[in-house]
């Protein structure tokens, strides 16, 4: 356990990362940002039929300061964009975003003057779920994919400064 363990791909570092990732991925507390029809499917996914709590999303946090995952379900209009940015900025690190539905991915059916054509240009999105609306199984699948993504993350690596730089560009 020399300096290699801290600077390179040492055993201690990877084990520590695995521990951190295990903790983070097993309890992704969601923030249900439900605006439109996809919000109803999100509600069904959180309810007893397709229970999302069994995957760790136990405490549905209604304040952005205490959540991990921002599940954006529904159309975002241009009037709403500053609100979305503000809520994303209020979330504490580490944070992830799931965009549920065609409207959140790319504007959906509404190619009009007042609809934001996809939230990817507003906040960094991790998982996109197509569908109008996607079935609740789709939202659960997305959560599982997010758990896989978190487990493959490298929180202690030197890649972090690059990621922070990319996030600053969004502000």
């Amino acid at each position: 356990m020399k300096f290699q363990a801290i600077q390179g791909e040492g055993w201690l570092l990877t084990k520590a990362e695995q521990l951190i990732n295990w903790g983070r991925s097993r309890s992704p507390w969601p923030f249900p940002y439900g605006t439109a029809c996809c919000g109803i499917e999100l509600m069904c996914a959180l309810a007893s039929g397709y229970d999302m709590a069994r995957f760790g999303a136990e405490r549905v946090a209604f304040t952005p300061r205490q959540c991990d995952v921002l599940i954006e379900a529904g159309t975002i209009t241009k009037k709403m964009v500053p609100v979305l940015k503000r809520i994303y900025a209020q979330m504490a690190e580490p944070k992830w975003v799931i965009a549920v539905g065609a409207c959140a991915c790319s504007g959906g059916v509404f190619r009009t003057y007042s609809t934001q054509q996809g939230i990817g240009s507003v906040i960094p999105v991790d998982i996109y779920i197509p569908g109008c609306p996607p079935r609740p199984e789709g939202i659960l699948y997305a959560l599982l994919k997010l758990i896989d993504k978190i487990e493959a993350d490298h929180p202690l690596y030197k890649q972090r400064p690059k990621l922070i730089e990319a996030l600053e560009a969004y502000k």
Binding site: C37, T75, T77, M80, V83, V109, F110, S114, C132, P133
Partner: protein
């Protein structure tokens, strides 16, 4: 009324002078002394993008200005650029809790413009599906009203029943939530075979879930304290503000478009119109619970009428592929779960509508919000907002 008490001899002479008399008044205070509380546009009451900017004097609300438009997607302008059949899926996204009612309202408006009469089998299928959608909408409304006031259990009971209704929708036209049911001219598919076995069981489970919710809530002391007397509204005011639907019926006005201007085959089925007395949150909740029961009765009768028709009765009227109605403008309204949902369509003879105007029922209700909650407390505002069943997709279009 004012209470005066003084703190003498505490914290030194200068501070004591300031703290000498602390006057608590419960009368009107000058402007500028209120606390501005902004609720929304994203808040836990799960109603989507509604924003209320309140000014409160302690807990009491002095003014509450709603702000809407956070889900304005330009549906009406989109309608001017799509053909009549292309606009049908867009109407789903208006009141997404009961999308079938929007579809049928739009189809009936275009059929009125064309001067068509739909065959009876299609009318009965539309009626059955619309009443199922009404039950589903009321289930989610009552469930969310419970969640907002802290009663989480009825939500889970009612959502399971909503999933059962979703199953029927999926068997019939393939989608759970955004149905796009039917077509201009009728219905595209007959009732699925599995519906005939499912319906007798489903009506019992719906009634059972409603009974369980009733047992948990209606005579519950906490529920009664939080909902009886909250936001009482008189009928004259309600009519002046343009209320329709359960909100108006809770104020005591017995008005339902299914009885006043019957459409489809509603004049051949018997059902009651539940009305309240005071227009408070409890009355709105009771009206919705009783309407669910009436909807089950309507579906039973419509189903009996459906079984009398021959198997090969036509489902759709012959409609040209590209619909070009004659020039003119009409307005057609139906009774959606929230109230009077109307479509005004102006046609200029081409294949695209010239102007579509949607009359959302919760629009007229939500503009009276300040009158409803003035003088109440903040937690009563939350109860009021839930009981209005404001669906942002319909409100903002």
């Amino acid at each position: 009324m004012s209470i005066q008490f003084s703190l003498k001899g505490k914290g030194g002479k200068g501070v004591a002078k300031q703290l000498e008399t602390i006057c608590i008044t419960t009368g009107p205070v000058e402007v500028g002394d209120y606390v501005t509380l902004n609720i929304g546009p994203i808040h836990p009451a799960m109603h989507g993008t509604l924003r209320v900017i309140t000014k409160t004097d302690g807990e009491t609300i002095v003014s509450a200005k709603p702000e809407i438009g956070y889900l304005h997607r330009g549906v009406e302008k989109l309608g001017e650029n799509l053909t009549y059949s292309q606009f049908l899926p867009i109407t789903d996204r208006l009141n997404y809790c009961s999308a079938i009612c929007n579809n049928v309202a739009y189809e009936m408006a275009v059929e009125k413009l064309l001067g068509l009469q739909v065959p009876p089998k299609a009318q009965l299928i539309r009626m059955i599906m619309m009443e199922l959608a009404r039950i589903a909408d009321h289930q989610v409304c009552v469930g969310i009203l419970g969640v907002d006031l802290g009663a989480l259990t009825p939500f889970f009971y009612l959502i399971i029943q909503r999933e059962e209704i979703y199953e029927i929708f999926e068997w019939h036209h393939g989608a759970r939530l955004t149905n796009s049911m039917g077509a201009i001219g009728g219905v595209e598919a007959d009732l699925p075979e599995r519906f005939h076995e499912k319906w007798p069981k489903l009506r019992d489970t719906i009634r059972k879930a409603n009974d369980e919710t009733d047992k948990l809530l209606t005579h519950n002391r906490i529920w009664m304290d939080r909902t009886i007397g909250v936001n009482a509204f008189c009928a004259d005011d309600a009519l002046n503000w343009g209320f329709t639907g359960p909100m108006l019926r809770a104020c005591g006005v017995k008005r339902d478009l299914r009885k006043e201007e019957p459409y489809l085959m509603y004049d051949e089925v018997n059902f009651e119109i539940p009305t309240g007395k005071h227009g408070d949150v409890f009355d709105r909740y009771m009206v919705r619970m009783l309407e669910m029961e009436e909807s089950v009765k309507i579906i039973d009768q419509a189903y009996a009428l459906y079984k009398e028709l021959p198997e090969d009765a036509p489902l759709m009227k012959k409609v040209p592929k590209i619909i070009k109605p004659p020039e003119g403008q009409i307005y057609h309204a139906i009774e959606s779960p929230n109230g009077e949902l109307g479509f005004f369509i102006k046609s200029d003879g081409s294949d695209k509508p010239y102007r579509i105007k949607i009359r959302p029922p919760c629009y007229m209700v939500y503009q009276a919000f300040e009158d409803l909650v003035k003088g109440e407390m903040i937690s009563d505002l939350i109860a009021c907002l839930s009981s209005l069943n404001v669906i942002a997709g319909e409100l903002d279009r």
